[in-house]
């Protein structure tokens, strides 16, 4: 489903070159549940951004669902992101002026889905994530856990084939973090592909497949 071949990502900071990813090779099958762990600055986020088509590698080849996406234009990439990929961020990244509902709806609005269909999916997602009573609340009226649930519902609204989560519990207390992990695992149980970056060894250890990355290189791949 996902095949990364010799991916390189180099940032130039001043005169210095920072190798965020070095020769990364990774194959992810459909329905896999992956955790990516490693020290801070090791390139976890960089890898996730490349996987999510938010960032282009400097070298290497990326195939998504059998299609080479390395050379796509920005607009084509945007379309693939919209249809195939759901993001969950550490800092939720909800639009502050929109209600929970408005935030969940956003990908569907961008995709131009008609309002009746949006409403149907919204009602289902709100019920699924226990947000019915919070539908009209804005992010500043929601708890951290609720915000992350809104973010997960948003990521799911377009039925993506891959969910990418970058430290989704990094900003939550332990028990709320557990709840969020449970939701993400439920997604995986439903057949979705889940790639999760985390600092937390306990959370990372629950994944079926555990990738370890150090200094931009994959140094461990346990199943």
């Amino acid at each position: 489903m996902i095949r990364l071949t010799d991916i390189e990502r180099v940032f130039t900071v001043g005169d210095e070159q920072v190798h965020a990813l070095r020769g990364v090779n990774l194959v992810i099958g459909p329905g896999e549940y992956l955790s990516i762990m490693g020290p801070s600055g090791s390139g976890k986020s960089s890898l996730l951004n490349v996987l999510g088509l938010l960032d282009r590698p400097n070298a290497g080849r990326y195939e998504l669902e059998g299609r080479d996406v390395t050379g796509l234009s920005d607009d084509e990439l945007a379309r693939v992101r919209r249809e195939r990929i759901g993001f969950v961020f550490q800092f939720f990244h909800l639009v502050p002026r929109l209600t929970a509902e408005g935030n969940i709806e956003l990908p569907m609005v961008l995709a131009g889905i008609e309002p009746a269909e949006r409403r149907r999916r919204l009602d289902r997602l709100l019920a699924e994530y226990g947000l019915e009573s919070r539908a009209r609340h804005r992010p500043d009226q929601l708890s951290g856990g609720q915000c992350q649930r809104v973010a997960i519902a948003r990521a799911m609204s377009m039925n993506p084939s891959v969910i990418l989560a970058d430290e989704p519990t990094g900003n939550l207390d332990r028990s709320t973090g557990q709840e969020v992990i449970a939701l993400l695992e439920a997604l995986h149980a439903g057949g979705g592909t889940l790639v999760m970056v985390t600092h937390d060894a306990e959370i990372g250890g629950r994944a079926k497949r555990r990738i370890r990355i150090v200094d931009g290189r994959i140094v461990g791949d346990e199943r």
């Binding site: 938010l54 920005d74 990244h93 131009g112 948003r154």
Partner: protein
Amino acid sequence: MRFSDLIGFAWQVVRGSRSRTFLILLAMSIGVAAVVVVSSLGEGARRYVLNQFGSLGTNLIIVLPGRSETGGINPGVVVAKTPRSLTLDDALALTRSQAIRRVAPLIVGAGDLRWGSKSRETPVLGSTAEMLDIRHMETAQGHFLPAGDPHHAQPVCVIGAKLRRELFGARQPLGEWVRIGDRRFRVIGVLAAQGESLGFNTDEIIIVPVASAQALFNTEALFRVLVEAKTRQQVPQAKADVEEIVRTRHEGERDVTVITQDAVLATFDRILTALTLAVGGIAGISLGVAGILIMNVMLISVTQRRREIGLLKALGATGAQIRAVFFTEAVMLALGGAAVGLAIGELGQWMVGQVYPDIPFSPPWWALIAAPGTAVVTSVLFSVSPARRAARLDPVMALSRR
């Protein structure tokens, strides 16, 4: 992205940042209102002047003694001395033209008007019965000067409304005898109040038969001859006839100046229209300033909303969609500002109209289109650069910087 969603999204932004929205609306609406008010002042002045000329009479031609290409009309001055004067017979000869309906000779002077113990210095007009129709005047009481031989000096007069009020108060003026200098005149009519028209206030004058005025001021010379052409199309013919008739009577000298109302009107119309356009355009500059304000506010907004823009991109927004979001916002603000501005402009123009009720203030049609149009076009133009900047944001950078 659907159009209605685009509108909805922009509306959320506009509503979300009240003070920013208020600022832009203020700038935009001041610009639009300025154009509307200023151009309606110009348009009002134009219409006022045109009405004033129009109220002088219909198809009017004015004949002045003396040859000059740029004769102004200023009936306030005392008889002008000219090489060869225009006489009553010259005036009456003009009626021979087929294109001329009627003719009113005019003598103007100042006289000491007395009734009983009251006395007053007033402009005295000598004319004929025709003057009433040519100058579109009306009598409030009694009659105007009687028709008949203009050479015959009847001792009658018609007085203006204000003169009547000041001289006679509540008393009945008809039939009373007044004195101008050493001559006596019986009041046979009172003019209806008409007010000022081009510096010539008919409410304060006294009108006597032209022959009486000639005797009073001891002159044969006419100040003006007012001529009314039969139709508007015959005005040029009438003008030519006037020049020809006077020339033959003056031994081939073309020593009069003939002014047509249309020519004067057209000149004023041109000048005042140009003036209105100019001041409207100057006011329009404030719309450009408002556009620059929009650009700055939008640039700040792009910086403030980096994370949101990054998020939208992560969620699959294309560059075109991001640009559309910003353009919609700009157009929405511009339309709002234009609407508020038009309302303020109408209000301002109404208020000026309350202060100067005589002047028909109203914005010209082009201002009502150009002002909001310029507002929308400038705000779109000035939001091109902020929108492009937003669309080019790198989503990873935008999302990571907290």
